[in-house]
Assembly symmetry: C2
Homo-oligomer: 83 residues x 2
């Protein structure tokens, strides 16, 4: 069966996020002043063929740890779409 997993990769909390800071400046130029902070990461949708949801989740976590996220600068979270 095919399962859909979502991997959210975000920069570590203690690190500066220059992309987010740039977007924050852009928002102020568009007269949106109520946004106090922006952090930008990646969202990766995976279609995984597996026997069970748990197996699919562990495959997604393996892929995230090995390739999708850089643990020096990023954290990741895996969530499964409900099927």
């Amino acid at each position: 069966m095919i399962y859909t997993a979502r991997v959210k990769v975000m920069p570590l909390k203690d690190l500066l996020d220059p992309q987010g800071k740039a977007v924050l400046v852009g928002l102020k130029k568009l007269d949106i002043h109520t946004i106090a902070d922006v952090r930008i990461g990646k969202n990766i949708d995976l279609q995984i063929e597996a026997a069970s949801k748990d197996e699919a989740k562990s495959i997604a976590a393996e892929a995230a740890g090995k390739l999708l996220a850089n643990p020096v600068m990023e954290t990741f979270e895996v969530s499964m779409d409900d099927v």
Copy 2:
């Protein structure tokens, strides 16, 4: 009050996602063969100062429509963190 909104920006379904295809090749080289498709977009966390959750959500949607997503190539979804 400060609310946290998440904006998920993904490439349109009908468009090729070259970044996702490249990651798919990388996964195969790491001997992960059970992943059939990869699509990569952005995940943007916003800290929004607003009077209510609904107001915060509409501010997030405005920011996403004006600046965060490119409607020619991308769709976006706004979700609120439960507080």
